[in-house]
């Protein structure tokens, strides 16, 4: 599904990703862990097409197509979804209107019929239940005045509505209490299917108790320095990142 080869990216003059190799097959859950500044959020944003980053080398193939050639909206239409670490507030656009616009734009791009507001509300109803959100939230402006937990839930709601093939969760666990974390994880798990993949970017192992990964990768200084199974996350939790990034840590 996703093949990342030798991916390099910069922001301004600074190189953040220094050659990433990662392959994700359908149905797999990959966790990308690493200390602050390791480049894990950059990887997530580059995959979604954030304009602040410049790809300077390597390739990313998504379902056999060159992902890096696509505009962000095309990536989304093809099934890539990024749950933002800091969801953006858009005062003046209601959540419902935004979601329906996104839903219909994606359907249109796939040659499917647009859904009218009434039918869309039916779709929303079950999705709202999944993330334990009240329909009152639909009439509020996107993320505006939402608490940290509500913003993250809203990201998962969007994901549930758009049903991406590849979901990238960028530190979705940051700032969440344990109840919110569970709701978010339940939402993600409910969407797991053999043809859908997930990349979970996280600093802590905590979220991985709820979203159990097939593979864990440790990113340090713009490279994947270690990969393993889910037990690697527990080991990291116990021993800290210095255990795998020691060389870089000492040099810094």
């Amino acid at each position: 599904m996703l093949k990342i080869k030798e991916l390099r990216a910069t922001v301004g003059d600074k190189e953040i990703l220094k050659g990433i190799d990662l392959t994700v097959k359908p149905g797999e859950v990959h966790a990308v862990m690493g200390p602050n500044g390791s480049g894990k959020s950059t990887l997530a944003q580059v995959l979604a097409g954030h304009p602040a980053y410049t790809v300077t080398g390597g390739s990313v193939e998504f379902d056999g197509e060159d992902l890096l050639e696509m505009d962000p909206e095309v990536r989304a239409q093809k099934g890539v979804f990024l749950a933002f670490q800091y969801p953006v507030e858009i005062p003046g656009v209601s959540n419902a209107y935004f979601l329906r616009t996104a839903y219909n734009e994606i359907r249109k791009a796939r040659g499917e019929e647009e859904v009218d507001p009434m039918d869309f509300l039916d779709i929303m109803e079950q999705k709202l239940k999944m993330v334990e959100m009240s329909d009152v939230m639909l009439n509020r402006s996107v993320n505006t005045g939402f608490s940290g937990g509500e913003k993250k839930r809203n990201e998962i709601l969007q994901m549930a509505v758009l049903e991406p093939k590849l979901a990238i969760l960028d530190e979705t666990d940051s700032g969440l209490d344990i109840d919110a974390l569970r709701v978010v994880a339940d939402g993600v798990n409910a969407l797991r299917r053999p043809d859908r993949s997930t990349i979970v970017v996280t600093h802590y192992q905590r979220l991985l108790n709820y979203i159990v990964p097939d593979y864990v990768h440790v990113l340090a200084n713009g490279r994947i320095v270690k990969s393993g199974g889910k037990e690697l996350a527990l080991e990291l939790e116990a021993k800290g990142y210095d255990w795998v990034t020691g060389a870089q840590g000492a040099a810094a």
Partner: protein, 437 residues
Amino acid sequence: MSTTAFLDDVRAATERDGEPRWLRDLRARGAERFAAVGFPTTRDEDWKYTSAAPIAELDVRAISEPGGEVTRASIAPYSFGQDGWTTLVFVNGRYDADLSTAGVASAGVRVLSLEQAREEMGDLLRDTLGSICDVEQNAFIALNTALFTDGAVIHLAKDAVATAPIHLLFVSDAAAAKGASHPRVLVVAERNSKATVIESYVATSEAVYFTNAVTEVSLGDGATVTHYKIQRESPRAFHVGTIDARQGRDSHFVSFSFATGAALSRTNVWTILGGEGCGATLNGLYMADGSQHVDHQTRIEHQKENCYSREVYRGVLDDTAHGVFNGKVYVHPEAQKTDGKQENHTLLLSPRAVIDTKPQLEIFADDVKCTHGATVGRIDNTSLFYMKSRGVGALRARQLLTYAFAADVLEQIELDAVRESLEELTLARFTGATTAE
């Protein structure tokens, strides 16, 4: 600078027969003042960013013959879909009784054309007209005072509540071409009364004409007046309008100014919080493109203790449009515990669009809380990326973000029919769509 046509009008007006002595005197004062000062120049601080020269050079005469082809059908798009409202319709500055509707009557609420008011409320007019908007304040007020022929008078008796909004609809059609009108509106809200007044300026043609409106609002103790001004003049028209309020103790004045029309427009919204415990809320939205020039000047004068003022103006400017916002807040030494907040945010859609924004706080009391903030920006790239990352195309994302920027301040409008109508108008302007939710 040629002001000849206007001076000819002024001369004619002072010779007008059949008006009571007090009105002739009032007009004479306006005429004298205008003849003495003429139109402002950009050397005037208040006119630094807006040149009145195009208005001065207009060869327009006051429209003397009522006329026009305005019908119920042609004004329907501007009535907010409401039949129950008291609506006074003015065609090219003249009251049109046939197009007007009485609407739902409320006890103690009188809505009259200026001419009717002269017959039925002569004393009120004599005592109030010109007492708020004095001819000394500026040349346009002086000109209006010398020349006004029609307009509306709204009187709210003590404790009276207007259950339905009152709509004053000023329509200009092709017959307004090369003409000037000087509408005058007076709102007198006695103690504890309440009303919502909408003043619309719309056009059914693209004629060049000049509107010079003056609205005086007197709020007695505990009165609440909500005033919406909808300026959708012809794209080639010139519009100058002043709304000036005087507030008694515990009164509330709420104003919203929506401006999308006219080649050049200048709207003044002024209020004096003259009693303790008053509140003033002055909001607005201006949207301009092409080579339009849109200017708002607000002035909030805190004279007494424990009053608050809230102000949010937003603007969206495209092409080579030029916006001006000047927000003055003046706090007198005795106006302790004043709580004032002012914001002006402008979105520039084109590199050649310009905004001159000037918050102006003059505070002479020491125990007050006054803040102001002004931002000028372009579409936020983070928001744009967020929308795109959800599959929304770049163009549509821009349209929605532009709409959202503007609609943010429309949310402040309490009257559903007006808010929804302006939201639709704004959405259509930026996206071509007709409904939002």
